[in-house]
Amino acid sequence: MAMLEVQNIRKSFGKLEVLKGIDFSLEKGQVLSIIGSSGSGKTTLLRCLTFLERAEQGSVTVNGDTIFDAAEVGKISAAEQRRRQLHFGLVFQNFNLFPQYTVLQNVCLAPKLQAKERPDYKQHTKEIIAEIEAKAHALIDQVGLSAKCDAYPWQLSGGQQQRVAIARALALDPEILFFDEPTSALDPELTGEILHVIKDLAGRRMTMVIVTHEMQFAREVSDHVLFMDGGLVVESGTPEQVFDHPEHERTREFLSRFTQA
C-alpha cells in the first residue's frame, strides 16, 4: 500500500466546483509534481490536504491511517485534528515567516510549543530545548543559512526567506512535505537556490508533493507527475510519460506553452 492515498477529493466554493474528484497515491521517499494551468485547482488541493480548506468529499490516508475523511468531519476534536495535521508540512508560495522572530526562532517555535506537551518536559526542560535548538541549527545549516540564524525575516532575500520556511516545516519531521509554487514569488535568479534545496531533500528521500510551474525542474526531480485541468487529474505518470508522451490533447496543449516560450 502506498504511503499517501488520496481518494475522490471534491471541493466547491459556492457554486464553483473547483475539485471534481481527485485521486492519487504516493510511495514513501518519492516526489510528486503537480502541474496545470492557473485556476485548475492545484492550490485548493494542497489546502484541502493540509486542512486549510475542508473538502466536501473524499479521504486521505497516510500509512493506512485515516488523516481525513469527509464523512467524519465535525466528529474530530481540535487536538486530534492537530495531531493528524502533523503528518504534513506545507511550504507557502509567499513564505509566511513570522516577522517578529529570528530565523532560529521561526524554526524552533512550533517544536518548542509542542515539547511543552511532553510528560517529561518539566524534568528535562533544558535538555529538550537544547535538543530542539541543535536540530534547528542543523536544518538551517542544511538550507545553507547558518550565517543568518539571528537575522529577522525583513533582513533576508525572498529566496532566503523561503529556505527558512522549508527549514521551519522540516523541524516538525513531517512525513510528507507539500510545496505550493515555492519559487513563483521569487525573482528568477533566486529560484535556483530553492530548487537546489528541494533537490537536496529529494536526495535524502523526503516524500514531497510539489505544485510548480518549473517544468524542467519537475522533470528532473519528480518520480511522478500529475497534470490537473478543470479540477480533475487529466494525466499522470512518470516525467517521461507526461512530458514526452502525453496521451491527452489538453496536456499537449498545456506543455506546448512552455516549449514555445
Binding site: 516577522p99 517555535l109 509542542q114
Partner: protein, 214 residues
C-alpha cells in the same frame, strides 16, 4: 493668592484628571477588545447590536454622553444619581472602548491570513497562534493609532467638568469668579507636560518594536 497656591490646587485637579485618564484606559482597553470581538462575531444580532452602539457612541458628542449617563437614569427611572467621578469614568470607558474596538479591528484585519495559516499548519492551537504569532504584530500595528487616542483622552478628561468633576480645568475656571483669568490659561502647561511625557513614552515603546517589520 500666590502662584504656588494656585499651582498646588491645580495639581490636585491634575490628580483627578490623571485618575480619570488611567482608570479609563484600564477599563476601556479590555472592553474595547470585547466590543471588537462582538462586532466581528458570527452571531449576526450581536454584531448588529454592537455596531449600532459603536455608531451611536462615536457619532454623538462625548459631553452629551456624560450628561446622559449622569442625569439620564434619574430622569428616566428615578434612580439615585451616580457619584460624579464614577459617572464620568463610565462614560469615558465606554466611549473610548468604542474607539479602541475599531483600532483593534483594523489591526486584526491587517494581519495577513498567511500568518494564521502558517501557525495552523505548524500544529499550533488557536490560542498559541494568537499569543505567539499575531499578538505582537497586532500590538505593533495599533500602538500609533492608540497613542493618538491616549493624547486625545488626556484633553477630553476636561469634559468631565460639565458634571462638576473637579478636574484641572474646573479648578482653573473657578478662579475666574475670584477675578483671576490666568490660572485657567496656566492649566495648559500641565496638559502640555503630561502629553509631552506620554509622547516620549509612546515613542520609546514604538522604538522597542522597531526590530521587526510587519
Amino acid at each position: 493668592m500666590s502662584f504656588w497656591e494656585v499651582t498646588l490646587s491645580l495639581l490636585r485637579g491634575l490628580g483627578t484628571t490623571g485618575r480619570l485618564f488611567f482608570l479609563t484606559l484600564l477599563f476601556a482597553l479590555p472592553l474595547g477588545l470585547l466590543i471588537c470581538m462582538a462586532s466581528t462575531s458570527r452571531f449576526a444580532p450581536l454584531r448588529w447590536l454592537t455596531k449600532t452602539v459603536v455608531w451611536v457612541v462615536r457619532g454623538s458628542p462625548l459631553m452629551l454622553q456624560i450628561l446622559i449617563v449622569y442625569y439620564g437614569p434619574g430622569l428616566v427611572f428615578g434612580w439615585p444619581l451616580l457619584p460624579r467621578f464614577i459617572a464620568a469614568l463610565v462614560t469615558f470607558a465606554i466611549n473610548y472602548a468604542c474607539y479602541f474596538s475599531e483600532i483593534y479591528r483594523g489591526g486584526i484585519q491587517s494581519i495577513p491570513r498567511g500568518q494564521y495559516e502558517a501557525g495552523q499548519v505548524l500544529g499550533l492551537t488557536r490560542s498559541q497562534v494568537f499569543f505567539k504569532v499575531t499578538l505582537l504584530q497586532l500590538v505593533k500595528r495599533i500602538v500609533p493609532p492608540m497613542g493618538n487616542e491616549f493624547i486625545t483622552l488626556v484633553k477630553d478628561t476636561a469634559l468631565a467638568r460639565v458634571i462638576m468633576v473637579y478636574e484641572i480645568i474646573w479648578i482653573g475656571e473657578s478662579y475666574i469668579k475670584k477675578g483671576m483669568m490666568w490660572p485657567l490659561f496656566y492649566t495648559a502647561v500641565f496638559y502640555l507636560i503630561a502629553n509631552g511625557v506620554l509622547t516620549v513614552l509612546l515613542n520609546k515603546f514604538e522604538k522597542k518594536l522597531d526590530y521587526f517589520k510587519a
